[in-house]
């Protein structure tokens, strides 16, 4: 018992010396503190990773946005010059316009198609798992490979799409060379890859209690009424999540445009954003400013402007969500 006594006295001494920090230590609080410490230690790899590889570069890029920096020479402080240059740069506004087109038109189309697919795949038919797999597979094909394949599908003279259009006698646009048709082509390509959106909607659909549908049936609701008054409200939380995610992703649209404007192919093509810069999206213009013109300061400024825009848009989406989203039963208002 001597041991425990000395341990206790040691503890009491520690406790009393920390009197200024901790008012009253109960064994419970100490246990909580110890558990906190253990938890913190387990989380430390992620925390260190976040600080080193995410937070530090982010802060550094904020610093670089106020400098003239070409990576090979030390950065030179220029204050707001990069931002001023951007606000008088035509291509900056063009890239914003292109990105907004993709966001405002691409997002609803992707979500609607994903939802329709999910509802179709929710119908219990024979071979349901096979259909679900088939519809999901396109979204896991590597984006670069699929972009290159779609470039061939969109080829105006020998591509399959124009061949099909020709067979039914429709106008065959010059998909990737006509500035009016490049973004529609990209949206069509995006629809092909909505598998991940579809899967999430599918899971959400199955979460809607069957009793609600049965109740609606008893009240004599038709399929459209059931959709509007049962399905959509039930999906609302997930819909909010999908909208926010889709908007954020579309604001950063890059890979497909990078491949299809031939940026990485090593071919000297002069124009950086496709026909009349119709495929110059914000992230692609950022990339060219940073790695082609070696203007890292300007590119960093672009990154921070995008961050602010996306943060504001997301904040608005969440703040207005209470108007149309209600979470589960029993929750009154949030």
């Amino acid at each position: 018992m001597n041991n425990t006594e000395s341990k206790l006295s040691k503890n009491i001494n520690q406790v009393s010396s920390k009197k200024t920090k901790i008012k009253k230590t109960s064994p419970y609080k100490k246990k909580v503190a110890k558990t906190n410490l253990t938890g913190f230690l387990f989380a430390s790899p992620w925390i260190i990773g976040f600080l080193l590889f995410s937070l530090y570069p982010i802060i550094k890029s904020l610093y670089y946005s106020f400098t003239d920096f070409n990576v090979f020479m030390p950065p030179k402080w220029v204050g707001l010059a990069n931002y001023k240059e951007l606000f008088s740069d035509d291509l900056f506004y063009k890239s914003l316009k292109n990105t907004l087109f993709m966001t405002l038109i691409g997002t609803p189309i992707n979500l609607i198609v994903g939802l329709i697919n999910a509802m179709l795949l929710n119908v219990k038919v024979k071979g349901m798992p096979i259909f679900r797999t088939l519809f999901f597979i396109p979204s896991i094909v590597p984006v670069v490979a699929s972009s290159m394949l779609w470039t061939w599908l969109f080829n105006p003279s020998c591509g399959l799409i124009n061949k099909a259009l020709g067979k039914i006698g429709l106008y065959q646009p010059n998909w990737l060379a006509d500035p009016r048709y490049t973004k529609p082509a990209l949206i069509i390509m995006g629809i092909w890859g909505t598998g991940s959106i579809m899967i999430i909607f599918l899971a959400a659909l199955q979460d809607i209690p069957a009793q609600l549908y049965e109740a609606a049936d008893i009240d004599g609701a038709g399929p459209w009424d059931k959709f509007i008054h049962v399905t959509l409200p039930g999906l609302a939380p997930i819909m909010l999540y999908q909208i926010i995610l889709s908007v954020i992703n579309n604001f950063q649209y890059f890979t497909q445009a990078y491949v299809m404007t031939g940026a990485g192919s090593g071919q000297y093509s002069g124009v950086i954003g496709g026909p009349e810069n119709s495929m110059l999206f914000y992230a692609l213009y950022l990339y060219h400013n940073g790695f082609n013109y070696l203007k890292m300061g300007k590119a960093s400024a672009m990154a921070w402007i995008l961050f602010i825009i996306v943060a504001i848009v997301t904040w608005i989406l969440i703040k207005t969500s209470h108007l149309w989203v209600s979470y589960g039963e029993g929750d009154d208002n949030n």
């Binding site: 230690l41 387990f42 035509d90 105006p156 010059n174 060379a177 090593g266 009349e276 082609n292 013109y293």
Partner: protein, 433 residues
């Protein structure tokens, strides 16, 4: 107590395994090598395909001829990836770019000046002086040119020209329009079957035609950028008129069916283009994919009534350089000396089909056999070629020009409007670093 130690040990392991994945791919020692083993020299080049095979041959010859250095070649066509690697210190010891980027790279400190090496080995005398000018910036030499910078020539399809009633290639800009219009063929559906104008590759047309017609993209005193010079506007009118006459959509469709640049389906290689501005490397590709093609090589056209301006065009060539943060500069310079030396350059020029930058090789019978050599010598004698304006922000100027060339050629703006806007956009570029 025991639990806490385990927790500490496990988290420590997790943290250290995290760091295993990052860090540099190669350590410092690989480039130095052990005593006796050859030091590694990394050579990343933009070429691919047949040109890459030629380079690998030269590398093999070099490695076999000595055992101090071992050159490892890598085809890396993505120039931005190359620059990024150099910027992070994981780039090659020797690489290549084009002469119209030297000012941009040199001003940013990417290139190692070679004057000391050259002086030590007394290396430069055999090179054509004009070629050395293209690799100089601020008075220092930043790379070595591979070719003589003859620029682009006009390739013409003899059969298509004969069918249109021409036995000779056009000499002036007016003749060019005439030949191009008459040699264009449409098939029964109205789609383009043979392209008359040097419309493909589009990127090779406007700047070269500007210089061929005697214009320049920068003022004589170097203080102002002049995209709105008369020659550019004339060149753009020509292509805009051609496109309007035959229909932009038809031409775009025809161009799109070519696939990638100089693929086997290329319209000139398959005999479906009458006139073409391209580089000497096209010769090797024609020999490979369609050796029966009846074609000729001529100088770019000169403006009507000014035969003294013949032989104009953009002078540019590939340039080999050593990055300023290369790990093995000695090895890189040793290999650079070989590939730009008489033996290396001769094999390279012969197989890839370009005119070498060394004067002594021009009297070599094997070099004289390179197709186009005769026309090239005439062109050099006339001394009318120009270089793309050399200043740090030249890459952006090039992009802006390309953007407005396109708008003018597609008649979205008149050439005058387009170039005026271009000039307005680019007015600050000369002051940028």
């Amino acid at each position: 107590m025991f639990k806490k130690t385990t927790a500490l040990i496990i988290s420590f392991l997790l943290v250290t395994t995290m760091f295993v994945g990052c860090g540099e791919k190669e350590t410092e020692t690989t480039s130095k090598g052990e005593k006796g083993a050859p030091q590694e020299v990394k050579f990343w080049y933009l070429w691919s395909g047949e040109d890459a095979k030629t380079l690998e041959k030269i590398i093999a010859n070099y490695n076999n001829s000595q055992d101090r250095y071992l050159v490892k070649g890598l085809s890396q066509p993505d120039e931005q990836k190359l620059i990024t690697s150099i910027s992070s210190g994981t780039g090659p010891d020797i690489s290549d770019t084009f002469s119209n980027k030297i000012a941009s790279y040199a001003s940013k400190g990417i290139l190692q000046p070679l004057d000391d090496y050259i002086k030590k080995d007394n290396y430069i005398e055999d090179f054509v002086p004009a070629t050395i000018d293209t690799v100089k910036y601020d008075g220092k030499i930043y790379g070595l040119p591979a070719g003589a910078g003859e620029g682009l020539m006009m390739f013409y399809n003899k059969k298509l020209l004969k069918e249109a009633g021409f036995n000779e290639p056009p000499k002036t800009d007016k003749e060019l329009m005439d030949v191009a219009t008459k040699a264009t063929k449409l098939d029964k559906d109205g789609n383009m079957e043979a392209l008359g104008f040097p419309d493909f590759p589009f990127v090779y047309y406007a700047t070269n035609m500007t210089f061929a017609l005697g214009g320049d993209l920068i003022s004589e005193d170097g203080k102002e950028l002049t995209p709105d010079n008369e020659a550019t506007i004339k060149a753009l009118h020509m292509i805009a008129d051609y496109r309007k006459k035959f229909g932009i959509e038809k031409i775009d469709k025809f161009n799109a069916s070519n696939g990638a640049y100089v693929a086997p389906t290329d319209c000139f290689i398959t005999g479906h283009q009458a006139l073409r501005f391209d580089g000497m490397w096209l010769v090797g590709l024609i020999n490979k994919y369609n050796p029966d093609l009846e074609y000729g090589i001529a100088m770019l056209p000169y403006p009507e009534g000014h035969p003294e301006l013949a032989g104009g065009g953009e002078a540019s060539s590939s340039v080999l350089y050593i990055p300023s943060n290369a790990k093995n500069k000695e090895g890189a310079w040793d290999f650079l000396k070989y590939i730009e030396g008489t033996e290396g350059m001769k094999l390279w020029a012969k197989e890839s089909g370009f005119i070498p930058a060394r004067k002594s090789l021009w009297t070599d019978p094997e070099i004289e056999k390179i197709p186009g050599f005769k026309q090239f010598s005439e062109k050099v004698a006339k001394n009318n070629t120009k270089v793309f304006p050399s200043f740090p922000a030249q890459a952006e100027y090039s992009t802006q020009l390309a953007t407005y060339y396109e708008l003018a050629a597609n008649s979205k703006l008149t050439p005058e409007e387009a170039m005026k806007e271009c000039k307005e956009k680019c007015k600050d570029l000369l002051n940028q670093k």
